[in-house]
C-alpha cells in the first residue's frame, strides 16, 4: 500500500475551479426560473447604477459643452444691490452700473481685451399680425465677440448706427421663428419693439437653451437706441446698463481681470470696503463648477439609492442559497460520502452564489449601457459609458455574490454527512 501512504501525505481532493464552475452552472440551470428571478435583483441594481452614473456623466458633458460655448473666459459684471444708509436695497433695485463704467474698464483694465455693456428688458415685439414676448438687449459692437455669438445671416450693427441710435435690430432664431413665416427672409423687414419701428439687419446663429434661459429668444438693438427710446437714461450718470461682459486673452487671466475690474469700479463708485460693492462679478467657469458639483452630488445620491437595490439583490441571493442548501441536504450528504471535502462543498455553493451575481451583473451592465444609449439618443446628450461604473458594477456584483454566499456555503460545508444522507 505504498501508493496509499504516499497520497495520504497530501490528502487534498482538489477539484479544478472549472469543474466547480460547471457544477454551479448545472445546478442553476436545473432551476432556471428561480435562478433567473434571483438574478433579477442584481440585474436591476447594476443596470441602475451604470445607467444613472453614465447618464449623469453624459448630461454633465453636454452642459459643460454648452456653458463652454458661452465662453468660460468671460467675466460678467452685474449691477448689484446699492447701499442706502447701510441698508441693502436688493439686487437690481437701482441700476448702478453705467456705460461709462464699461468704457472705463475697457480703457483702464490692462488685461481686458473685450468689454461689452448691455441693458435688457422684456418687451413685446411685433411683425405684421404676429407678436411675441422676448428680451430686448441694448448693447454695443463688442457684444458678439464677448458672447461668442455672431450673425448667421445679415450683420451686426455698426459704430455709426450705435453713435446715431439708429433704428436697426438683429434678431435671434427663436424670435425669427415666432414672428416670420419660414418663407420670409427677415433681413430688411421692419418690426416694432415697444411701439418703435426697427429694421432687421441680421439674424444670430442658434446657441441653444441654458436651462430656463433661451439665448435664442432675444433681439439686439444699439445701446443708445435702447436708452433713448425704451429705458436706461439716467440723468445723473449717463446710460445705465444691467451688466458688462469682460473678456481677457484666456481663462487664466480671469482672476487678474476680476481684480482690476473690481478696483476700477470701486474707485468710480466711491466704495470704501468690498462689503459695500454695488456690483457682482461672476464668470461661467464658476457657474460650471457649481453646476458640476450639484450634478455630481445628485448623481452620487441616485447611484446610492440604486446601490440599495443591489444590497436587496444580495439578500435575495443569500435567501435562495439558504433554501437551496436545505433542499439539497441529501445531495450534500451524497457528495461527502463520495469523497467531497468540506472545502469542496463550500466552494461549490459559494461559486453558485457568485455565478448568479456575476451573470446578473453582466446582464445588468448590458442593460445599463442600453438604457444609457437610449436616453442619450432620445434626449440628445453625448453617449458616455462610465468605465468606472462598469468596473464598479462587475466588482460589486462579484462581491455581493461572495458575501451573500458565505453563510449558506458554510452551512452546507458543516453538514454532517450521516445526517445529510438520512434527510428527505
Amino acid at each position: 500500500m505504498a501508493f496509499f501512504k504516499r497520497r495520504l501525505q497530501q490528502p487534498s481532493n482538489q477539484v479544478s475551479p472549472l469543474e466547480i464552475g460547471q457544477m454551479a452552472i448545472d445546478a442553476l440551470w436545473s432551476n432556471k426560473l428561480r435562478s433567473g428571478l434571483t438574478m433579477l435583483g442584481v440585474i436591476i441594481g447594476i443596470s441602475s447604477v451604470i445607467s444613472i452614473s453614465s447618464i449623469g456623466q453624459g448630461v454633465q458633458k453636454s452642459t459643460e459643452e454648452n456653458i463652454r460655448g458661452l465662453g468660460t473666459d468671460v467675466l460678467q459684471v452685474m449691477a448689484g444691490s446699492a447701499q442706502s444708509g447701510g441698508v441693502s436695497q436688493g439686487q437690481g433695485s437701482v441700476t448702478t452700473l453705467t456705460w461709462e463704467d464699461a468704457k472705463a474698464i475697457a480703457q483702464q483694465a490692462p488685461s481686458a481685451t473685450i468689454v461689452s455693456a448691455y441693458l435688457q428688458r422684456n418687451t413685446q415685439v411685433v411683425y405684421g399680425e404676429k407678436n411675441t414676448s422676448t428680451t430686448v438687449y441694448g448693447t454695443d459692437l463688442s457684444y458678439p465677440a464677448a458672447r461668442n455669438t455672431f450673425p448667421q445671416i445679415g450683420r451686426f450693427f455698426t459704430q455709426e448706427e450705435l453713435d446715431t441710435a439708429a433704428s436697426v435690430t438683429v434678431i435671434a432664431p427663436t424670435v425669427q421663428k415666432n414672428l416670420f413665416p419660414a418663407n420670409v427672409n427677415p433681413i430688411g423687414e421692419r418690426i416694432r419693439i415697444q411701439g418703435e419701428i426697427y429694421e432687421v439687419i441680421g439674424v444670430m446663429e442658434a446657441k441653444g437653451a441654458q436651462g430656463p434661459q433661451d439665448r435664442d429668444d432675444a433681439v439686439y438693438i444699439p445701446l443708445t437706441s435702447m436708452s433713448a427710446r425704451i429705458i436706461g437714461n439716467n440723468a445723473l450718470m449717463g446710460i445705465s446698463v444691467n451688466g458688462i461682459y469682460v473678456k481677457g486673452r484666456d481663462e487664466s487671466e480671469l482672476e487678474t481681470i476680476k481684480f482690476q475690474v473690481a478696483n476700477i469700479l470701486r474707485l468710480r463708485h466711491n466704495i470704501d470696503v468690498p462689503e459695500n460693492d454695488d456690483f457682482r462679478i461672476t464668470n461661467q467657469a464658476d457657474i460650471l463648477q457649481t453646476f458640476n458639483t450639484i450634478l455630481s452630488l445628485l448623481t452620487a445620491m441616485i447611484v446610492g439609492i440604486a446601490g440599495i437595490s443591489l444590497v436587496v439583490g444580495g439578500i435575495g441571493i443569500a435567501n435562495i442559497m439558504l433554501v437551496s442548501v436545505v433542499e439539497r441536504t441529501r445531495e450534500i450528504g451524497i457528495r461527502k460520502a463520495l469523497g467531497a471535502t468540506n472545502g469542496a462543498i463550500l466552494t461549490q455553493f459559494l461559486t453558485e452564489s457568485v455565478v448568479i451575481s456575476v451573470i446578473g451583473g453582466s446582464v445588468g451592465v448590458v442593460i445599463g449601457i442600453g438604457i444609457t444609449f437610449a436616453s442619450a439618443t432620445a434626449f440628445k446628450f453625448p453617449f458616455v459609458v462610465s468605465g468606472g461604473a462598469v468596473a464598479a458594477g462587475v466588482g460589486l456584483s462579484t462581491s455581493v455574490g461572495l458575501i451573500a454566499g458565505v453563510i449558506p456555503a458554510r452551512n452546507a460545508a458543516k453538514l454532517d454527512p450521516i445526517t445529510a444522507l438520512r434527510s428527505d
Partner: protein, 221 residues
Amino acid sequence: MITLENITKSYHLSETEVPILKGIDLEIAAGEYVSIMGSSGSGKSTLMNIIGCLDRPSNGVYRLESRDLTTLDNDELAYIRNRRIGFVFQQFNLLSRATALENVMLPMIYAGVPKAERRSRAEAALVKVGLGDRLSNRPSQLSGGQQQRVAIARALVNEPALLLADEPTGALDTQTSQDVMDLFNSLNQQDITIVIITHEPDIAAQTHRKIVLQDGLVVDA
C-alpha cells in the same frame, strides 16, 4: 484489511451518555464477502458509519489497510471515502438531475481524474453492471434495480479496497434483490472485499461470513 480493536461509540443525549457500540473487535480480511446482521438498535448502522469513515469511534482503533484512521482529520477521511471505500445505500442516493453516467463520474471529479478518463471509466463501470445502454438516463427513468446498479457502478469506479453496502436490497423486490446479490457475488469473485449491512437472514445467507451484532457487541462472527 479491516481491523477494529475495542471500538466504542456513544452519543450524548442532553445529560446522559448513550452507548451504541460497547467494544467491537473485528477482523475482515481482503477479498472477504461479509454480512453484518443485527436488529434495529443493535448498532450496525453506527458500525457501518465508522467503517465507512463517515463517523469516528469514541474510543478504540480502526485500521484500514494497516493504516490507523482514528487520528485522521475530516479532509483525510474524505480522501479515504473517495479512494478506498465504495458506498451502496438502501435508497440508492443518486443525484436526481444527473444522468447515470454523470452519477458514476461524480466520485472521480473529487479524485481529480481528467474528464476524458472519467467518462471512459464510468462507461466501463456501467457496462460491468449491465447498464451499458442506459448511460444518459436519469434516475427517474430507471427502475429500482437499475438505479441500485448505477449506485454500485459509482461505488466501484474509483477502484476501492472495500465495497460497503447498507441494506442494498431493502428497497427492492425479491427478484431484483436477487439480481443485485448475484452482482455482488460476481464482484466478490473478482476479489473485491464486500461488507453488507442487513437485517434479512436470506441476504446474509448468501455471504460467506455472518457477523451478528446485538446491543452494541459482536455476538457471532
